[in-house]
């Protein structure tokens, strides 16, 4: 960020706020960026759970009210289903841009890049592996 103490008057073209609805490519782009709004919701949900846990007594009264009353609410379940779809959409788009953001070379002495499917396979394996580990651990200790 920079403080602009100048006298320049830049030309700002008028753009409608709904410009991204007119082209499906741009709509997909805004949905992709919009997944961050959903992940912020999940983040606050987790933080609320930790907060309720901290407030609980030895039998977890407040925490169980959070799980049964908040997570059990049909609106929150539907929002969580949307959040799941949005997280997976984010994962697909995020993994797709990874080879463009991080360049992996074949070896030290060449400028030849690794084919894009190598990081893709690794990232999808990481997603499946992490999901399996967390789900199995959660269901085993349930």
């Amino acid at each position: 960020m920079s403080a602009d103490n100048t006298f320049r008057k830049p030309y700002v073209p008028k753009v409608e706020a709904s410009w991204w609805l007119k082209n499906p490519f741009f709509t997909r782009y805004i949905i992709r960026e919009g997944t961050s709004l959903v992940s912020l919701f999940v983040c606050l949900e987790l933080l609320l759970g930790v907060f309720c846990f901290a407030l609980s007594d030895a039998h977890g009264d407040v925490y169980l009210a959070y799980v049964n009353g908040f997570l059990g609410n049909i609106v929150i379940i539907l929002l969580n289903l949307v959040a799941l779809a949005s997280c997976l959409f984010h994962a697909v788009t995020w993994f797709a841009l990874m080879p463009k953001a991080v360049r992996l070379f074949m070896n030290k002495n060449s400028t030849e890049l690794l084919p894009g499917y190598v990081p893709h396979i690794g990232l999808y394996l990481a997603l499946v592996g992490a999901t399996l580990v967390i789900l199995v651990a959660a269901f085993v200790t349930m």
């Binding site: 700002v12 961050s36 995020w94 990232l123 999901t131 349930m142």
Partner: protein, 123 residues
């Protein structure tokens, strides 16, 4: 002393790490919360029951991982929303910057403080 160097790489790094956390770890956590929503959860029965979550928050490594997921998700989301405001034809000001990065910092400090208090059983 004012530095000419940009602070952007720090936020970019948190954004990138957060993108990985959201893409790799968050789907499983959301699945657990959906499953818990369909069950009648008790003190020691059901998905995400009190003792199970207590075991996670009482383990320093698992609690640190959970803190990492919460923190990185917050920084990722706030950074991305802040930069998407331009595409929604909102001209960002310094106030927008403080609101969004302040929110991420607040979530970080709240999660760190709460999880530390739970771990040390101070609350």
């Amino acid at each position: 002393m004012h530095s000419n160097r940009s602070d952007e790489p720090i936020y970019w790094l948190l954004f990138g790490a957060g993108g990985m956390a959201v893409g790799v770890v968050l789907p499983a956590i959301v699945i657990l919360m959906i499953v818990a929503g369909f069950q009648d959860v008790g003190e020691a029965s059901g998905m995400l029951n009190f003792h199970q979550v207590g075991a996670v928050l009482g383990n320093w490594l698992l609690s640190a991982v959970l803190f990492g997921v919460i923190m990185l998700t917050a920084w990722h989301a706030c950074h991305r929303i802040y930069h998407t405001l331009h595409d929604l034809t909102i001209r960002v000001t310094k106030l927008h910057w403080f609101v969004f990065y302040g929110l991420a910092a607040a979530i970080t400090f709240a999660a760190a403080a709460l999880q530390f208090l739970i771990y040390c059983q101070l609350w």
